[in-house]
């Protein structure tokens, strides 16, 4: 009996050892209750470039950036793992050669049968590529927001902002700030916000638009919304959005006429009723 039990245990340990040693993508190692490295595996060596004898007995904080060390991030993570049993997070870590990599980590606390902390197991993955891709996406998103909201000076004192694409909360905020600062920079008394390129307008976006108008009014400028498509007009009425005193025009050219009118600029008309400047 005793023999067979120990054989099972050893084969379990053996299996576990093979699993840890042969893991290519996961750094798996144990820590003491105070955060000192107890074991090391091949993947850990590959990510962090340290050999087992260089790290065993050293404190976990050696892999963290100086800034994170000062902010006591290690202590925070271990405290969280101790409190909740498990900590999951991500951050920049430092390799032996000083370069950084983005690590996704899980730290689990280990406790004995009395509930006393006996240490931690840390599982980490090098997610630098994923992180870099996410950064690129985020940067492109920002660039797209910038590019997709040009501010055009139509006339002395008249600005136009044609908005193309979906307006979400974040973009509405950016459009709002961009419009208001453009008003100051261009000394513009009238701004036309053209939303003919916006597919849908929900209550939240409508509220953002109204806030933008109100803020522009407080600064001493007038805002006109142009290009409200029929389906958007219907949605807004169904949603109960009250545009109140906000000026709306069907097209950009009508909005421009209105803007010129606000600035007391008269247009001459020819026989066909077309307006010329």
């Amino acid at each position: 009996m005793t023999d067979s039990k120990s054989a099972t245990a050893s084969s379990f340990e053996q299996r576990y050892q093979v699993l840890v040693d042969q893991s290519l993508d996961l750094a798996i190692y144990f820590l003491t209750p105070t955060g000192y490295v107890e074991t090391w595996n091949a993947a850990a060596e590959r990510f962090k470039q340290y050999k087992a004898d260089e790290v065993i007995g050293k404190h976990l904080s050696m892999f963290y950036t100086r800034e994170d060390q000062q902010k006591k991030v290690v202590e925070y993570e271990l405290d969280e793992a101790k409190r909740a049993g498990r900590y999951e997070g991500a951050g920049w870590r430092v390799r032996k050669d000083g370069t950084k990599f983005w690590a996704e980590v899980i730290i689990c606390s280990l406790k004995d049968r009395h509930g006393n902390l006996t240490g931690f197991v840390k599982i980490a993955r090098d997610a630098t590529e994923k992180r870099e891709q996410l950064d690129i996406i985020e940067r492109q998103k920002q660039e797209l927001i910038e590019l997709s909201t040009p501010v055009i000076q139509l006339w002395n004192g008249i600005l136009a902002l044609p908005i193309v694409g979906t307006l979400d909360s974040q973009r509405s905020q950016i459009v709002m700030e961009k419009l208001l600062s453009a008003i100051v920079a261009n000394d513009a008394s009238v701004a036309i916000l053209d939303i003919s390129g916006v597919p849908t307008v929900d209550t939240m976006v409508a509220q953002h638009l109204m806030k933008t108008m109100e803020a522009a009014k407080l600064m001493g400028a007038e805002c006109i919304i142009s290009g409200i498509r029929p389906e958007i007009a219907q949605t807004m009425v169904h949603l109960g959005v009250d545009l109140g005193s906000i000026k709306t025009k069907s097209t950009m050219s009508r909005a421009l006429e209105e803007a010129l009118d606000i600035l007391h600029i008269k247009l001459a008309t020819n026989g066909e009723g077309k307006k010329h400047l």
């Binding site: 709002m176 700030e177 208001l180 600062s181 008003i183 100051v184 000394d187 513009a188 008394s189 806030k211 109100e214 803020a215 522009a216 009014k217 407080l218 600064m219 001493g220 400028a221 007391h264």
Partner: protein, 142 residues
């Protein structure tokens, strides 16, 4: 009594007040009182409140600006709040303080143009521009 005052400058038939950063509540109330008195004594037809130097307007100050505008309007002098910074405008709107009925302009020049235009429109409507101007402007024409 506070020894501090905010200077009130007379420009033709208008009064110009430049409110500086760091204004405290008592000084703001002093301004309201002194400005009201000055509108009465000069017979000014408009007031320009330049707040371009302010980096914050809370509900107290926002309300005070509205109150000044209401008081001067009763005294037949329109108030224009000029030069509000975008960040302040966004903040006031977010708080729900959009100062309805208060005239605004981007800067002092545009505020002055707005006041002049409103004044001339008012005169056109009443159809007695010359007499009205002589009566109302007698004390402040220089």
């Amino acid at each position: 009594m506070s020894a501090e005052h905010i200077p009130i400058i007379k420009m033709d038939e208008f009064l110009l007040v430049t409110i500086q950063e760091g204004i405290h509540d008592r000084l703001a109330i002093t301004l309201q009182e002194e400005l009201t008195a000055k509108v009465a004594s000069t017979g000014a037809r408009g007031v320009l409140l330049d707040i371009s130097g302010l980096d914050m307007v809370d509900s107290f100050l926002g309300r005070l600006l509205s109150t000044i505008a209401s008081i001067t309007r009763i005294m037949d002098a329109e108030t224009v709040v000029v030069g509000m910074q975008p960040a302040i405008a966004i903040t006031l709107v977010e708080m729900g303080l959009s100062m309805p009925g208060v005239l605004t302009a981007l800067n002092v020049d545009k505020g002055m143009t707005l006041l002049r235009r409103r004044l001339s429109q008012a005169k056109e409507v009443t159809c007695v521009p010359d007499i009205k101007a002589i009566h109302d402007g007698s004390s402040d024409r220089g």
